[in-house]
């Protein structure tokens, strides 16, 4: 495997430095060595020269919210299949959520994920640890030991920490380590047994609704806690207009508060649940056109730090249930980039450097890996995603490297995808 690669004549975009021009990128010894017009002498130092004419050359894409289901539900996804899907989608780094079975709640669990990822040799795989033992929301998990083992943050994702006192204690304790606290904001009392957005469509479909307020109430609480305690806080998969307003306000106040937005919350509304297709059952639920507009507005204004897929694979047999009984989640890692392009570039909300900021340096900063990843600065990891921005294709879920097919975008026409994914100077995906 070549560790020395020269990528020539691409449109090189590095959101951190503001670079956006046609030039070359040289990777030597697994690291970024040079960016700019590189003389022909360099070709002799490398094993591989890639012609990226007409292509976009970006720092490797980072997705800070995926579910790889290992350990516990390997029939749905493994770290190997998930990270293979990641590189096929253009992602060189992903962050696994700790809601596995058992959950990631001590240093051994963290090391297990890292070991499986090393064996798979696909993308870099990071992991967040649980905030509370068993993700039960009561007792603190061993955050210190997980921090030492390399956990990049803490979350009970899948549920929010309900008890304000527990969350306050967790934030205070975790503030020793400088790692981000991430939250799936959902007040379970307000959420009730909701399975889709509370609104007109839930009413006519006769399904219990999940009130937008459930997300907003917990987010408001957490912002108050984070502000007083002074800890970096990331609001996961923000889905409502009012929640985004809270993020906007917190950022305006100068707080270290970030948020992530998923492709489905930018493209799909609760109206899609009509027909009871469980591929549209996701948590937070699909909201309304007004919410989509608010999320796009925030993205346009630079309020959002990261785009994250919330890739949540499930078996077909699990999704082939009554809407009420089926599990939440959408598998989208391999098409996420194309979906963001559709929602944000095709729709003229933002341009390429703005999009890539939320997929590279933005998420890298949230999880504190911006010292080694997320840009093309000399000496950073040789992680590069080469994107063909024009290629058109139809989403074929049967070709997914992910083990799961619970994807509502089946058959969609998309434009733009990763053609080459380079991780640490190695070509890990070549779809050109």
């Amino acid at each position: 495997m070549s560790k020395n690669i020269l990528i020539k004549n691409g449109r090189v975009i590095d959101p951190e430095s503001g670079l956006d021009e046609v030039c070359d990128v040289l990777i030597l010894q697994e690291k970024i060595a040079q960016v700019g017009k590189i003389g022909s002498g360099a070709e002799e130092k490398v094993e591989k020269v890639i012609d990226a004419t007409e292509m976009i050359v970006s720092p490797g894409l980072i997705d800070i919210h995926v579910h790889f289901r290992e350990p516990g539900d390997e029939e749905e996804e493994t770290i190997a299949s998930g990270s293979a899907a990641a590189v096929a989608g253009g992602f060189t780094s992903v962050v696994c959520m700790p809601n596995t079975n058992p959950p990631v709640e001590n240093e051994t669990d963290v090391e297990y994920v890292h070991r499986k990822a090393r064996q798979a040799r696909q993308s870099h795989v990071y992991v967040m640890g649980a905030i509370t033992k068993g993700r039960a929301g009561a007792e603190l998990a061993e955050m210190g030991l997980m921090h030492e083992a390399g956990a990049v943050g803490f979350t009970d994702d899948g549920s929010g920490v309900q008890d304000a006192k527990v969350m306050q204690r967790a934030m205070k304790y975790a503030s020793m380590f400088g790692k981000v606290m991430s939250q799936h904001c959902q007040d379970d009392h307000l959420a009730g047994g909701g399975v889709m957005n509370a609104g007109y469509y839930a009413t006519i479909l006769g399904l219990p609704g999940l009130d937008a307020l459930a997300e907003e109430a917990m987010l408001w609480r957490d912002i108050q806690l984070a502000k007083r305690i002074g800890i970096p806080y990331n609001a996961q998969h923000i889905s409502t207009a009012s929640a985004m307003e809270l993020i906007r306000g917190a950022k305006a106040d100068g707080l270290n508060i970030t948020s992530e937005v998923t492709p489905h919350h930018l493209l799909l509304t609760d109206e899609y649940c009509e027909g009871y297709d469980t591929n549209y059952k996701v948590n937070p639920p699909l909201r309304t056109p007004r919410d989509i507009e608010a999320l796009k507005e925030a993205i346009k204004d630079g309020v959002v730090d990261a785009l994250a897929s919330d890739h949540a694979p499930h078996l077909q047999s699990e999704k082939e249930l009554e809407f009420l009984a089926a599990p939440f989640g959408i598998a989208s890692l391999e098409v996420a980039l194309g979906l963001y392009i559709k929602a944000l570039i095709d729709d003229k909300v933002i341009d390429w450097p703005q999009l890539l900021r939320m997929m590279t340096i933005g998420p890298a900063r949230i999880i504190g890996i911006d010292g080694e990843k997320g840009s093309l600065a000399k000496g950073k990891a040789g992680d590069i995603t080469i994107i063909d921005p024009q290629v058109e294709y139809q989403v074929d879920v049967e070709k997914f490297r992910s083990k799961s097919r619970n994807c509502p975008y089946k058959g969609w026409r998309l434009r733009g995808r990763a053609v080459t994914t380079i991780v640490g100077g190695e070509i890990r995906y070549d779809g050109s």
Partner: protein, 320 residues
């Protein structure tokens, strides 16, 4: 329209009856006309007709029901179908045999019509997408209960000339009521004005987007309406306590003798049953001269016969 047993030229094409939201006024009227034709069978000495001879109807009930199931059984037997009873308590989690497997197994036995009741909204829709047999929704979660609303409207039409311009109040737990939803869709399509009456805690999300008026005062509404439709307070579906006590609920939303004094003299009092006497309706009112509650049960039979007949006919036509 008035109900007649006359042939009309309308052609019914639906092999499933999943809800009334998707139905047109013509389709609704066609069901009523068909039901009128079946009504007299119950008055004959031999209470049977042959249209479903050799067909198998399965009552696929995942939720408790006595009257709806009995009514469907009787309707199917009057049409000479063979009837299988299948009852199974469903749970909201995925344990044991899935709904899909249950439906596929029954299909493998060669059923023609599945009458489905389930606690999950959309369950009959889900089954209809996965099996060949006809599916009739006998109540799904709080989504729809189409045959109940059809028999309700049929009962009104037996007592009034038309739904056009009629004012109907539906009172009680609207949020969790499939009966309210089905009646709302059908009644408004036929030109009636529907008002949902109940406390805000029993109204569904974005009720303002539905084609109805909303009121929290039965006292104000009772004076103006032609029909008052009392919903059963379903304690098993409420979750939490949306009102402080039964006593207080009855005070505001119970149909009492006193409250009836404010009503129009020709008002129709309806209820889908079973009644909680003294809670949402006082016995004197339920059994009184303005009550058509037992007529509802009676006409349910003809309406369900019509529905079984029509979906089967559509399936047969589709195969030809």
């Amino acid at each position: 329209m008035t109900i007649t047993g006359q042939e009309n030229k309308f052609e019914w094409t639906r092999k499933h009856l999943l809800g009334l939201r998707q139905l047109s006024a013509d389709e609704l009227n066609h069901i009523f006309a068909t039901a009128a034709g079946f009504e007299q069978i119950s008055t004959r000495s031999v209470k049977k007709a042959p249209p479903l001879r050799g067909k198998v109807v399965v009552n696929l009930f995942f939720e408790d029901s006595t009257r709806t199931r009995t009514s469907f059984t009787l309707a199917a037997s009057r049409l000479s179908a063979d009837i299988i009873e299948f009852t199974k308590k469903s749970s909201s989690v995925s344990k044991g045999e899935t709904l899909l497997d249950t439906a596929k197994n029954l299909e493998a036995m060669g059923i023609d019509i599945a009458v489905v009741r389930h606690s999950a909204g959309g369950a009959p829709d889900f089954i209809s997408r996965n099996i060949d047999a006809c599916v009739v929704n006998a109540g799904d979660g709080f989504c729809e209960h189409p045959t109940q609303a059809l028999l309700d409207i049929y009962t009104i039409l037996k007592n009034r000339q038309s739904m056009e311009g009629l004012k109907v109040a539906i009172v009680g737990d609207i949020a969790h009521s499939r009966v309210a939803r089905s009646n709302m869709w059908a009644m408004t399509k036929l030109g009636a004005e529907v008002t949902f009456v109940g406390p805000p805690t029993l109204m569904p999300a974005q009720v303002d987007k539905l084609p109805v008026k909303v009121s929290h005062s039965l006292d104000e509404v009772i004076e103006k309406v032609d029909v008052v439709y009392m919903l059963r307070v379903q304690f098993e579906r409420l979750g939490g306590s949306p009102f402080p006590s039964v006593r207080e609920y009855s005070r505001y939303y119970g149909l009492t003798v006193d409250r009836m004094k404010k009503a129009r003299p020709d008002i129709l009092v309806m209820h889908p049953g079973p009644i909680n006497r003294g809670l949402e309706i006082e016995s004197e009112v339920a059994d009184g001269p303005r009550s058509v509650i037992l007529q509802q049960v009676k006409y349910g039979l003809a309406v369900r016969m019509a529905v079984l007949f029509l979906v089967n006919q559509a399936a047969v036509t589709e195969k030809k």
